[in-house]
Amino acid sequence: MAEWNAYYRNEDDEEEQEEGEQSGGEYKVTGRDSLVFLVDASKEMFIKEEDGKPSNFDMTMQVVRSVYTSKITSSYRDLVALVFYGTEQSKNPRNSFKHVYVYHDLDEPGAKRVQEVDELRGSKGAQLAAKTMGSGETSLGDALWCCANLYSDIKLRLSHKRLMIFTCRDDPHEGDSVKDRQGRTKASDLRDTGVIINLMHLMKPGGFDVSLYFRDIITPPEDESDLGLQLEPCAKLEDLQNRVRAKEKKKRVLNRLNLCLGEGINVAVGVYSTAVPARKPPPIKLYRETNEPVRSKTRVFHTQTGSLLLPSELKKAQVYGKKQIVMETDEVDSIKKFEDPGMFLIGFKPMEKLKLHHHVRPAVFLYPEEDDVKGSSCLFSALLKRCSERNMFALCRFTARRNYSPRFVALVPQEEESDEGKGQITPAGFNVIYLPFADDIRTLDAPQLPCASQEQVDKMKQIVTKLRFKYRSDAFENPAIQQHFRNLEALALDMVAPEDIEDLIMPKVDQIDTRLGPLVQEFKDLVYPANYNPETKPAAKRKTADNGGGAEKKPKVELPEDELRAHVQNSTLGKLTVPVLKDACKKFGVRTTGTKKQELIDALIAQLSS
């Protein structure tokens, strides 16, 4: 345990970055999320575009695959199903529905399923689909009923149920009013059980008319005011992917609390996190023989008597100034507590007072919760509007959770933005920027160096202009995480080697060089003297390496025991360097679990002062 922890900390906690109370926080999970893809398998879906664009069916499969893999990487406990309707063949749990083909029933997505979806992609996929399922009559009612059964067959508690219909036919039953009605009834039954039905309508010659039929099937949009507003059908894979991605994850509120403007003026708000560093999931311990997961049990007992210790028989302590200070466990908690969770308005400042470098944590997003306090949206909206128009931010004191100490935050207004297809790019609300305390700002001695001349600056400007691009925040994938999952995928699917990943954050050196051409040399001539080589260290510092005979490191500093004891006595161990401390640990047979300086010091003190 200790080993593994140490190992992973070493790898993941870059430069001792501790993630203690990252704003990402844990969600309260009360059940599983579920998502059913209900895909039209009619002939129309397989029609290939003339310009070589993928068919609607192909596009859908790509999206399904990407949702599968993203669920695997980010929320593997969610349940996903893939159901086709309008098929010739039928396959469903009790085979009670014709022309409905349950390809995957509701379950956690795994490697095999990804493979199976892959098989449906491209022209081969279309052939396979035709062979196994075919295209036949359509009854949306049956399909929805079948999906309802999928949900009801699940014994787990489902917290969020969503069904996405992918189709390019706006009038699936071609005027058959009985079927139409049946579909409507079933859709309404599904909605009654809390399933949210979305339509991912695809390109259809002549345009897709949602109002023709599907308007009555889908769950009305959250935003009641624009019932009439309908999205354009998706023509591009990217659009479809974005649209699915936006819906696929449940918007989870980190917590709900009050934004208090003053005595008795509480606006209910929800806190959402929109950018949280994704991490590699932790490893699971398995039993070597069977590969089954093992559970760990931790026991705390008394070293001398061997009896188990109850939490009440334990206390907490810290050592300062050579003195151990002991507190009760609940006292430790009470020290952390300042006030109940909430936000308290302190005042307003103009935006230019928000310094770029005052960044200590990823921001969170604030949106009113009309359901908690009626009238919140109106006041929130008024604040947002005026702050935005007057270019102000609101300064607040923010206690995110129980037993969290307060931090100051800036509420920065963000106005709603939509793309041409009426899809929301940014929602309206406040971004909550965490501000640093005095402790978080370090004093640096900035070196005094000469400034560049305008000629030099202008040359660099040419370089900068040559290498312009439009940054998009979702343009870069994390190569480390991608590689990890490719490795797992390869192992899970018995592939010979993992698929190659493209490291998107690697500079495209060749392209840069070509684009810049002679500019680099011109700039170097302007700023560097002829004999200057920035790749090497300055001469003075290289001497040791030059005549020292290569890899020889600094001679080891052996610390005599009495000196070490003196350091322990005077609590001056902190003055020693980590390598010296490590050596000392080795010498005195002190076993250490960590590599941090403080841990080494603690271990040495424990050993030598007793």
Binding site: G110, L286, E416, D439, V464, R468, N478
Partner: protein, 712 residues
């Protein structure tokens, strides 16, 4: 510290200088202990009854005691100060004491590295000092590079209070008004002479009064970390590189120490042992040896065994340390709220490399002039995964640098959509907006002062982290007063987290106005949703009138759930009834209407005359209540949109029924606020396509609600 007899003299009701000086030392040591600085400290007392110092000889340097040699301060020292240091009855020359201190510093710092040598003198200057060797002492102080600080019971200069540093002023100085004794005045002159000869300009700044010092020492030291340099090269393409050094400039700081678990009885850490065992997830909980455990990872529903060795071999590898430019982009493309990570790194050129300085300066200025940033790949070292981030240009008066902040990967982002706030329900009125405006005006934290300069009333980055302050306060209390409950929070800390007083006074009236203009009602949530039958009586349609009229908010809430569809088979008549009850108690609000219209739409989707009739009943009820309450717009806009959708949805039959029943728009004649004239209302029922001349009947009331209910 002077412990001589004059130090315990004080005017009645005032603390003697001795006590104040002792407090200053205590606070100072406490701060050092909890900041865990490596600073060492010695304590020399003068005016002691006995004499104990290395210089004592031939009756010289008498009544001076070296209490503690140069060491890192700890609780032992604090306890000694609390218990062993008392006012004594002798007097000693403070210049002699200074010499003893200088000697101590010289001898005990031998072979040690140090940044600064400081001697702090706490005295009331009541003893005659012999100025004979003053110049030699000053020379020696200068050569040894020792800084002096004086703490006196009175302020040093007349001008200290008024001038310059705003932070320093404070409560009155007892004793300041009283005339100083002749010795004190002489002493003060000597102190000033010494200080000014050591530092011609700011010498007097290092003379403090006890009171001021105590005020400033009340907070625990902020966590200070020595910045570690991260040397690297900034690269653009393959052939342009600039030597740089990065330093963490802003970092979400945490306490260095964590709590250890000890046995409650013995308070010993070693008495507690923690052991983790592993077992299979079977009925017997069969234990598994640690050696038999391997690691695996989840890939969706599959668990893939993946040993550490394999993982290491296959994991993403890179070339280590790097700060490589991927390209440049407009600053406006970078969104502040997408900053990730918990630090800001400032990037300089190495201080001994002016060529790198010029090259980096060219980049910084170019970016600044173009309003652009560099997007870079940043890797701290080989063990750490690389990041993508933005390097912003930063030009200050005394230096230039790049500021690196991490940006998100695609995996880190979640795109949520939220309902638009441009919603009729929520759009604030002009009156409401102006209430918010005056609130903002009254709560501006940045204001121009008389000289036209902007003044920020609350710089939060100057406030120490309250969590650390409180933590140390409690630890300190427990260490010094064991067995007593933890103290309340320090008042100054509480005040630092509140609105500045000026603001809270000024914003009272605007806040009241906001309170009046924006009604806010907390919604009490019911634990479990009941079925419609439970809420409204059996499905017989017999409404439970009491319930419906009981609590409007609760009612609203339940209704909302019905519309969401968690209750099945709510009959239309029930819906209409609830609607009716609701509008009796609350004005026709948008959500209520929304639910009703939603239901109407549902009914209409079943193209059947029976359902059409029900829809019309609903619409009539809607109209009825809207007229009663004098609110026409919601109803009118719904009916208009319904009419527009008739041809598309093939609801002509329904429309004819509606026309027969003469359910039209609410006109001005009925409701004042309506924008529809009577004529328009009459014309409304004539569909454009058919051009049928339907004689529009008068838009009189279509009967009682009771009748409506009977019709169902």
């Amino acid at each position: 510290m002077d412990v001589g007899f004059s130090m315990s003299n004080s005017a009645p009701g005032e603390e003697p200088p001795f006590e104040l000086a002792k407090k200053v030392i205590q606070k100072f040591v406490q701060r050092q202990v909890f900041a865990e600085t490596k600073d060492e400290m010695a304590l020399v007392l003068f005016g002691t009854d006995s004499t104990k110092n290395p210089l004592e000889q031939d009756g010289q340097y008498q009544n001076i005691t070296v209490h503690r040699n140069l060491m890192i301060p700890d609780f032992e020292l604090l306890e000694e100060i609390a218990n062993q240091i008392h006012p004594e009855s002798q007097q000693a020359d403070w210049l002699d004491a200074l010499v003893v201190c200088m000697d101590l510093l010289k001898k005990q710092t031998e072979g040690k590295k140090y940044d600064r040598l400081v001697i702090v003198l706490l005295t009331d200057l009541c003893t005659q000092a012999s100025p004979d060797e003053l110049d030699i002492i000053i020379d020696n102080l200068k050569t040894a590079g020792i800084t002096l600080q004086f703490f006196l019971p009175f302020p040093a200069g007349d001008d200290e209070e008024g001038g310059g540093d705003g932070d320093r002023g404070g409560s009155g100085h007892p004793g300041a008004g009283k005339g100083l004794s002749r010795e004190q005045e002489q002493g003060l002159d000597m102190v000033k002479h010494v200080m000014l000869s050591l530092d011609e300009e700011d010498g007097l700044d290092e003379i403090y009064s006890f009171r001021n010092a105590l005020e400033q020492l009340c907070m625990f030291k902020r966590i200070e970390r020595r910045p570690t340099a991260w040397p690297c090269q900034l690269t653009i393409g393959s052939s342009l590189s600039i030597r740089i050094v990065g330093y963490k400039a802003v970092m979400d700081e945490r306490l260095k120490k964590t709590w250890i678990t000890v046995d409650a009885q013995t308070n010993k850490r070693d008495d507690v042992k923690r052991e983790t065992v592993y077992c299979l997830d079977d009925d017997n909980e069969t234990e598994v040896q640690k050696e038999d455990i391997i690691q695996g990872f989840r890939y969706g529903s599959d668990i893939v065994p993946f040993s550490k060795v394999d993982q290491d071999q296959m994991k993403y590898k890179h070339d280590g340390k790097c700060f490589a430019v991927l390209g440049f982009t407009k600053q406006s493309n970078i969104h502040r709220h997408q900053f990730i990570g918990n630090q800001v790194i400032k990037v300089f050129a190495p201080k001994d490399d002016e060529h790198a300085g010029v090259a980096l300066s060219a980049l910084i200025r170019a970016l600044d002039e173009l309003n652009m940033v560099a997007i870079v790949r940043y890797a701290y070292d080989r063990r750490c995964n690389p990041q993508v981030g933005a390097a912003f240009p930063c030009i200050k008066q005394h230096y230039e640098c790049l500021m690196y902040i991490q940006l998100p990967f695609m995996e880190d982002l979640s795109h949520f959509t939220f309902p638009s706030l441009e919603n009729k329900k929520f759009v604030p009125t002009e009156a409401q907006l102006s209430a918010v405006d005056s609130l903002i005006d009254s709560m501006m934290l940045v204001e121009k002062d008389e000289s036209g300069e902007q003044k920020d009333m609350l710089k939060v980055h100057h406030i120490p982290n309250p969590a650390f302050q409180r933590h140390f306060q409690c630890l300190h209390h427990r260490a010094v007063n064991p067995g007593t409950p933890l103290p309340p929070m320090e008042p100054w800390l509480k005040a630092a987290l509140e609105r500045p007083e000026v603001i809270s006074e000024r914003c009272q009236a605007p806040l009241e106005e906001v309170k009046r203009k924006f009604p806010l009602t907390a919604v009490e949530k019911k634990k479990q949703l009941k079925t419609s039958a439970q809420i409204f009586g059996k499905d017989t349609g017999e409404p439970d009138a009491k319930k419906a009229k009981g609590d409007e908010e609760e009612e609203d809430y339940n209704l909302a759930d019905i519309a969401e569809g968690s209750v099945t088979s709510v009959r239309t008549r029930v819906i209409v009834f609830i609607f009716f009850c609701l509008v009796v108690v609350t004005p026709v609000s948008f959500p209520v209407c929304q639910q009703l219209t939603h239901r109407i739409e549902q009914l209409l989707s079943n193209k059947n005359t029976h359902y059409y009739m029900k829809s019309i009943t609903c619409i009539q009820a809607f109209r009825e209540q809207s007229v009663k309450l004098g609110k026409a717009d919601l109803y009118n806009s719904y009916l208009q949109s319904l009419k527009r959708s008739i041809p598309n949805r093939g609801l002509e039959v329904f429309w004819d029924l509606l026309v027969q029943d003469a359910v039209t728009l609410i006109s001005k004649d009925e409701v004042e606020g309506s924008t529809v004239s009577k004529n328009e209302a009459n014309q409304f029922l004539i569909t454009d396509e058919k051009k049928e001349e339907v004689a529009a009947p008068t838009t009189e009331d279509t009967g009682d609600v009771d009748d409506l209910l009977d019709m169902m």
